[in-house]
């Protein structure tokens, strides 16, 4: 299986390098871009599986890039993880990204992202804090967040997903 390709759009050079290093060490293929203009060009050219998208960027904002991705048919399968240091902006965009990570992003969050992308055949993330029911009817918060638009009845390790 090809390594999942992650585009990291992050204007802070050191943070971009760290995220790239953690994801590459975990077996993912990454490319990092520092500004909005370059991000638009590279996203269209490379069609990544996942984009880690910072919202505050030089030249073109993350919101504009997100709108562009959503209106481009060939990027319909591309998952967007919004990363932002603006907690309020993050909360305001919860419905727009497949996942929102408010900085500081933790090492475990990056590893979780890797796990989801390498251990499943589908990109298994989406809205956070989903509630699931196990086979015996017990409600739990699934450690994975699943994009319920595409996955309705799938096994998620020990979790049998029955409801959204």
């Amino acid at each position: 299986m090809n390594r999942p390709f992650i585009m990291i759009v992050e204007d802070d050079v050191e943070l971009g390098d760290i995220i790239s290093s953690v994801l590459e060490d975990s077996g993912l293929h990454t490319e990092t871009v520092r500004d909005g203009d370059m991000a638009l060009d590279r996203i269209t050219a490379t069609e990544p599986d996942v984009i880690l998208l910072d919202m505050h960027l030089p030249n073109v904002s993350g919101s504009e890039i997100l709108a562009n991705i959503r209106s481009t048919p060939k990027l319909s399968q591309t998952r967007v993880v919004i990363t932002t240091a603006d907690a309020l902006l993050g909360r305001a965009n919860e419905d727009k990204g497949d996942l929102v990570l408010i900085k500081p992003i933790t090492f475990d969050q990056l590893l979780n992202l890797t796990t989801r992308l390498t251990k499943t055949s589908q990109a298994m993330f989406g809205i956070r804090s989903m509630i699931y029911r196990t086979e015996n009817g017990q409600a739990v918060t699934c450690p994975f967040s699943i994009n319920m638009k595409t996955c309705h009845h799938i096994s998620c390790d020990q979790y049998q997903v029955q409801t959204i």
Binding site: E14, H56, A87, T106, F107
Partner: protein
């Protein structure tokens, strides 16, 4: 409010009286205009302040993110093996970085609350998992002071609750952080129970210093401290946590109560109206 009415008079005495009353009415009218101007300026100032704090929060989080990730990478041995002492020192860096983050979050929340920008949302959440998300980040703080941290969820709590879990997390995290600050021996207990069929009580108890009776009404004021002197022995923060707890509890139509005695610890109880999602079992 309208202060433009005029009093008419028929003779000198009444004319004098009416002149005095009209003078008072004009003064009141002027004062009212000035009060409205001051209110508008205050509202505008609070909005500007909230924006400045949001910008500061934004600019602090990125370098903090670099610190947190680099420390974790060093701890995991990515740059080479470490001895126990080095790992212990890196733990201290992480605890302090997280405390700084908590402080930044509180500044942001306080400014947003003052500017009236905080809204309450409802979502389903699993109480057991929810309390894990509160306990886990607090463990490094309790371990640093050799304190116990326990959570007790009584049997009447359903598997799912409907409420603003994010704001409830802020409330309980602030109460636990506050309890840790003022407790030097013993521990902290979080308890959730159902006092009646439509309310849920979230309680944080500690075995700490206790709060003097005369201070119990003031501890929810922003920036107020039981010992606010510059000579206090231990830095207990800036006094924002309990103010945020109180404001968020009010926004959620809840109530807060304190039981505390000097030297005997404190118990904060937050009682909130919370629904059980449709179809959920209610434990009798």
């Amino acid at each position: 409010m309208n202060f433009t009415g005029r009093v008419c008079a028929g003779d000198d005495e009444l004319a004098s009286l009416s002149k005095s009353i009209n003078g008072v009415l004009e003064a009141l009218s002027q004062a009212h205009i000035e009060l409205e101007q001051t209110r508008d300026e205050t509202v505008e100032a609070l909005k500007i302040k909230a924006q400045i704090v949001a910008n500061v929060s934004h600019d602090a989080r990125t370098p903090l993110n670099v610190i947190i990730l680099r420390v974790e990478m060093i701890k995991r041995g990515i740059y080479g093996p470490l001895n126990d002492k080095q790992i212990q020192l890196l733990d201290t860096v992480q605890v302090n970085a997280n405390q700084l983050l908590f402080f930044i979050d509180n500044l942001l929340d306080q400014a947003q609350l003052e500017a009236g920008k905080v809204t309450i949302n409802k979502n389903d959440f699993v109480p057991v998992d929810f309390f894990n998300t509160i306990e886990t980040p607090m463990k490094s703080l309790t371990q640093k002071k050799n304190l116990n941290l326990k959570t007790e969820i009584t049997e009447d709590v359903p598997t799912l609750l409907l409420g603003d879990s994010q704001r409830l997390n802020q409330i309980l995290s602030n109460l636990v952080v506050n309890a840790i600050k003022f407790t030097d021996e013993g521990g902290i207990k979080i308890r959730v129970f159902c006092p009646d069929k439509i309310h849920w009580a979230f309680q944080v108890s500690d075995t700490g210093a206790g709060i003097p009776k005369e201070a119990q009404q003031r501890i929810f004021e922003a920036f107020w401290q039981v010992d606010g002197s510059s000579t206090r022995k231990v830095n207990r923060g800036v006094g924002l946590g309990l103010s945020i707890v109180s404001q968020l509890t009010n926004l959620m139509n809840g109530k807060i109560s304190i039981e505390s005695e000097i030297g005997m610890g404190s118990t904060f109880t937050i009682t909130l109206p919370m629904e059980i999602p449709e179809g959920e079992q209610v434990h009798e």
